[in-house]
Symmetry: D3
Subunit: 139 residues, 6 copies
């Protein structure tokens, strides 16, 4: 049997800021620079979700990517798109709104849903910009 890695891309646009609530403004400015702007900034995030599994002999598909797309939209991008990551997103509450933390939380949300499709989540990769991105594999 063959193990394939199948990836679906989705996108969302969101505002955020990097601020540690236990720190002074000066300390936040010193550590996070312009990312700490109190009035927020934002990004077009690009999300790549990779699942691993074996092609089903009846369909040739490892998973139906339409279903993967629906799951990502319902549980992840609907929560994030045109939202403020610090203020509007329950699963990021009380967490620093870094791409690292966002990637890890998206992983946690998706794991059981991908399992139900008969495959395993392999990697979540999140681009904050063309220059910066984060991957998480549940390690």
């Amino acid at each position: 049997m063959a193990l394939v890695y199948v990836t679906r891309r989705e996108r969302f646009n969101a505002a955020h800021q990097m601020r540690n609530p236990n720190w002074s403004d000066e300390k936040n400015e010193e550590v996070f620079g312009k990312c700490s702007n109190k009035n927020w900034h934002g990004h077009n995030y690009e999300l790549f979700v990779t699942v691993a599994g074996q092609p089903n002999p009846d369909t040739g598909y490892c998973v139906d990517l339409k279903k993967v797309s629906d799951i990502i939209k319902e549980f992840v991008t609907e929560e994030l798109d045109h939202r403020n990551i610090n203020l509007d997103v329950p699963f990021m509450k009380d967490k620093l709104a870094s791409t690292e933390n966002l990637t890890i939380e998206i992983w946690k949300i998706l794991v059981p849903h991908i399992k139900k499709l008969g495959a395993n989540l392999y990697e979540v990769k999140l681009f904050e910009s063309e220059n910066n991105f984060v991957a998480y594999r549940g390690e």
Copy 2:
């Protein structure tokens, strides 16, 4: 003599919202949908500035793109990057933060600076996302 069109790309990441202050929340929601989120959302904006002119026989350059880049950074992207377009940007004060209005204001700012380089501003093109973008040519 030959007229060439020379383009420089710059980028900035910003938060914004689409809200008409003369309208109720309901009307803003109806017209602008999720773009009216009071808690803001954001984008990675990509800006293409095109100037028109003739190559200088001594340099082969229409303009020094390093200087065009410096002008865009000093007068445009420094003002917008990691900022809130509605709250932080003097040249967008009291204007609706649409990509259209932003593109027009960037044009107005750049015209005299490009003139001083001995060329003419030909077009400002601003991508809000891979799917949506606006161009303005001073018409």
Copy 3:
């Protein structure tokens, strides 16, 4: 008043072949090469629709790009996506399935719908691949 050019990107995947029904197989092969394969080939088409108009003072928008997207989907990409351009698409019936002809027909379909939004269609640009694309401006 300012004239802005606003562009929306949409995509569709379709099969087609290049064959002139008045020609022999040999002649079709000679002129169209492997594009004349009787068993079809296909592309991921990328469509850029540009409309021209003035920003509305109440919205800051030239047009609501959500409406432009809905129009393109309803009248163009729903007809083409996952279809055979030669066999399945009424507006391409009896026309050679070139990117040129496809671009011109998409223009004709969109003109009245964009008009109703209070703007003018400026350009339809269609990418058949990263190396080949066609633009039409109604000239």
Copy 4:
């Protein structure tokens, strides 16, 4: 000694359909949706072939990518480009034309040819669209 991973990109345009011949039209429509269109649809496929090996001290190359490109063209993309994956491609005969199956078959074809170059095939990655892609590593 250092192990490097060297990748070559190639492209092909092809038609296909997703249909299980043991199923009714209704069942195919239900499972594969518009991908089951009897009249075919198509894609611009992007193929990334990664080989692993050590740089040769005389050339600095792990493999000559020109030779990798020639192998991919001769044995893979010549067979697929401007073809119908279901009808025209011997190595896909009696297989469901999914990107998963296509990726696995391309892997099988390339393994011995890469071996002859003194390197090992590490991964075949195939993009069906900007949103969907599959990787296979021979696991």
Copy 5:
């Protein structure tokens, strides 16, 4: 009759330097900065050639893009690819190796060849990098 604009992309990789032979090293360094490095630097150039014409009723094509590609390769990219623009390219002899001058010379070379195909050259656009590019339309 409809006027369409058809574009073909080609690529080449070349070395160059920006140096005015009438100037001292200091002056070249002052004006061209690191682009004046005597030991050369280089780029992956991306060339977009746009021709304008009417679709032929027998083919649906404005021009056969295969022929446009062949012309660009024979007369332009074969001369430039893996070459030194200052030293190896007859049509750039005694010219400053700016993207502006290169774009203009490519235009001059292509005009008569596109004419013979029954179309008109509309634009040559040359990307030196993702951030810098030049267009020329014969004005």
Copy 6:
């Protein structure tokens, strides 16, 4: 604790040639083809540096990507940008200027600097063109 992979992209433009000094011109031409041009050619190189580590609870960052970018610029791209890889770059002296060797040397340079940031270098990936790239993971 979660292990994340964080990537930063940087770019540089450089000239090089592929020539083994122990070989005749004929042998170099035979093995390296047009890459052996004595007058050099060049590329826009794209560099992706991936580091692995755990998000810091106080910042949400695995590493400050601004610092990663500064390190890459100071020790790698400043040495390579607008330079000749064969002639100008101390860490490539007496090495064949292949993308493989360049990738390995960049890895060696970066390892200790990333260590000081409290993370581990995971992968260096270097694109010579959109079609050819090399990755090294220190194996």
